[in-house]
């Protein structure tokens, strides 16, 4: 335990050292009022949407695991401000806000959380697995680190097609220790793929503080092992995130390859709905200390100070958000359950005309429903003799 304390102290120092230099920069330059308000809207939408989701979870309307992003909104809102709409995003399971900011409607996201047919994954996948082909939002993955090799593949495809798109790959800091991280960053750097790896260092992987899981505190430094550029960004600051990501995106579009960005942030809520906010692995005081630096409040204050946002404007945005979120919840509530046929749909996209793809009895299909062709090919399935 003595060791953990020491490294926590080291960690803090390093946090400060890395980030101080940039506070004086004039970050608001080049944004117009509408753009800034758009960012405010994204931040507040993210927050309120999740507050609503938490309520719905408590009421049993949402099941399974549900991981809230509250406190980390600036990482996404800032990063995405550096993207074009046709850029790809792939991420882990704490991704409601990323899905929303990439453009999936609150309705489609909420319906997915409710497990309904109108969800952005057809109700088949829930909170951890949001997707939208239309928005180049590639999900939404639950195996820690699993999305990192896939992101590398997306980067490979971009280069293969000689496009100037990029792929943003988000991960929690705990994913950095996975072998998948190491293998992927090496290939991305070796082949100069247009992938930006953004590590959201919210200090904990479930109940494990980063310094108890990694022998090196500075994640950005891990990029040296791959001869890859890296940066530390203030994940509580929209502008810092946007600037660091923009530099990386520019490099990637110019064919100069990937970047590793460590976004220092903090998770305000428990790991998932069943994990208390504080107690075992962090104190109430620690959480409160970070909540004072709430990224939404900080962002709003900054805009107000710069006369880019009035109270009335803020109120209007907030009201709009509340309406959107209520609408999303109502929509999700009234959206139908996926039909029983959906059970066997999309397991395969090509239903081969020969042989059986499914080894079960298929008696789960409702009467009258038409099964995928492969189910009936190759003998009947009532357990009697074959055709």
């Amino acid at each position: 335990m003595a060791r953990s304390m020491a490294s926590a102290a080291r960690a803090k120092q390093s946090d400060q050292r890395e980030l101080n230099g940039r506070k004086g920069e004039k970050r608001l330059e080049g944004y117009d009022r509408a753009e800034l308000h758009d960012l405010v809207h994204q931040m507040i939408l993210g927050r309120r949407f999740e507050e609503k989701a938490a309520e719905a979870y408590a009421l049993g309307k949402i099941g399974g695991f549900c991981h809230l992003y509250i406190g980390q909104e600036a990482v996404t809102v800032g990063s995405f401000a550096a993207l074009r709409p046709d850029d790809y995003v792939i991420t882990a399971y704490r991704e409601h806000v990323q899905a929303l900011v990439k453009g999936i409607t609150p309705r489609a996201v909420m319906a997915e959380l409710y497990g309904k047919a109108d969800g952005c994954s057809g109700g088949k996948s829930g909170s951890m697995h949001l997707y939208s082909a239309e928005h180049d939002f590639l999900g939404g993955w639950g195996i820690v680190g699993g999305q990192i090799p896939m992101a590398t593949g997306v980067g490979f495809a971009i280069r293969y097609r000689d496009e100037d798109r990029v792929c943003l790959c988000f991960m929690g800091e705990a994913a950095v220790n996975q072998g998948a991280f190491h293998e992927s960053l090496n290939m991305a750097a070796l082949w100069k793929l247009p992938v930006i790896f953004i590590v959201e260092n919210n200090r904990f992987g479930m109940g494990t503080a980063w310094e108890r899981a990694s022998s090196l505190y500075d994640i950005a430094q891990k990029a040296h092992a791959y001869d890859m550029p890296s940066a530390v960004a203030d994940g509580m600051d929209v502008f810092d995130m946007r600037d660091r990501v923009k530099e990386a995106v520019d490099r990637a579009r110019a064919g100069e390859g990937p970047t590793l960005i460590e976004a220092r942030c903090y998770r305000f809520m428990g790991h998932s709905m069943s994990d208390p906010v504080h107690g075992v692995y962090r104190t109430k005081e620690e959480v409160e200390e970070h909540k004072v630096k709430d990224p939404i409040r900080a962002f709003i204050d900054r805009l107000k100070d710069a006369d880019m946002l009035t109270d009335d404007e803020l109120k209007a945005i907030d009201e709009r958000v509340r309406a959107e979120v209520d609408d999303a919840a109502e929509f999700a509530e009234s959206s139908p359950e996926p039909p029983p046929e959906a059970l066997y749909e999309h397991v395969y996209s090509e239903i081969n005309s020969h042989g059986r793809l499914f080894a079960d009895r298929l008696d789960r299909l409702p009467e009258g429903a038409s099964p995928p062709a492969s189910m009936t090919a190759g003998g009947d399935d009532d357990g009697g003799e074959g055709s």
């Binding site: 088949k124 829930g126 359950e337 079960d360």
Partner: protein, 325 residues
């Protein structure tokens, strides 16, 4: 006898075996400070300290291989997978190192290690978090595979597994942790691997199963009783070694059987058991052997679809009636 939960039974087994043998240690994600993602290791960190209850980084391949190396030089690691879904990252170390080490070294080294954690689906955890991996593991010689369904079995079999000199894949269930049952309080209450147990006696049809599904089988048997069908429920308890004697005995008694399992059908455990039965009790069969499994699809999230996908007592009842036709 005390009535305790499955979780507490596992906890007792761990504590007793760690007390008994200083070479036993527990390692995995969140097992120490957090007392386990599902609280199976509650109190062990406080009791045994960070030397013997070790939180790992999220590196399944790495800490699995670490366990195998430690076992090779004589420790007796208990490696917790937060769930077996994540063990997919570690299969190389299980199949290529743990399972083969004793054989490849011609017996010079042993690999006394337990890999444990919940397998199969809980509630609405979706495709990546709802996989039953018994079949994946049981295929590989060199491994033993154990699937307790009750608190007593959990305790007795975990103790046996920790004392075993070979790698044991010990599969629990998230939905089993709160199940209560009577458990002997004896420190040396050990249930040997390879002994199936008749969890309910019956005459008309055998429901053979393992793990969490034992409870579904018992529900089905209760339902069948109302229709005057007497079903026997045989719980394999371990899949390797497989208690073929017990399987043949129940089949010869009822002449009809259904294999029930949580996992997917294609090369599921049921396929192997049915093959064994038809090879060794062919003339005792009055009807085809039936199977009840998960739908042959990745597990969906939506409540209605998940329910439809999982095996259920109703499906078991229907299968029993089919083989009784």
């Amino acid at each position: 006898m005390a009535t305790i939960t499955y979780r507490e039974a596992l906890n007792q087994a761990l504590a007793e075996e760690m007390e008994r043998d200083p070479d036993v240690f527990l390692m995995g994600e969140e097992v120490a400070l957090y007392n386990g993602a599902y609280k199976v290791s509650k109190g062990l960190f406080d009791r045994f300290g960070e030397r013997r209850v070790v939180d790992t980084p999220i590196t399944e391949l790495g800490f699995t291989g670490l366990g195998v190396g430690a076992a090779m030089v004589g420790l007796r690691p208990v490696i917790e997978f937060m769930t077996f879904n994540f063990s997919m990252l570690a299969l190389d170390q299980v199949f290529n190192s743990a399972a083969k080490l004793h054989y490849m070294t011609a017996g010079q080294f042993h690999c006394p290690i337990v890999f444990r954690g919940p397998t199969g689906a809980a509630l609405q955890l979706s495709a990546q978090h709802s996989q039953a991996m018994e079949s994946t593991y049981a295929h590989y010689p060199g491994l033993k595979v154990c699937t307790p369904a009750t608190p007593a079995d959990a305790k007795g079999l975990l103790k046996a597994s920790i004392r075993d000199d070979d790698p044991v894949v010990f599969m629990e269930g998230e939905l089993l942790y709160n199940v209560k049952g009577e458990v002997p309080e004896d420190d040396d209450f050990v249930i040997p691997l390879g002994l199936a147990e008749v969890k309910r006696a019956g005459d008309d049809v055998s429901i053979i199963t393992h793990g969490k599904m034992v409870h579904v089988a018992l529900q089905a048997a209760a339902a069948l009783e109302k229709d005057d069908v007497s079903a026997e429920v045989l719980d394999l308890r371990s899949i390797r070694p497989l208690d073929v004697d017990a399987i043949l005995a129940t089949v010869k008694k009822t002449n009809r059987a259904v294999y029930l399992e949580e996992g997917w059908p294609f090369v599921g455990i049921g396929a192997q058991v049915i093959d064994t039965i038809q090879q060794e009790a062919f003339d005792h069969l009055d009807a085809p052997l039936a199977r009840v499994t998960q739908a042959d699809v990745p597990m969906p999230y939506a409540k209605n679809l998940e329910k439809l996908a999982k095996p259920s007592a109703e499906r078991v009842v229907a299968a029993c009636k089919r083989v009784l036709l």
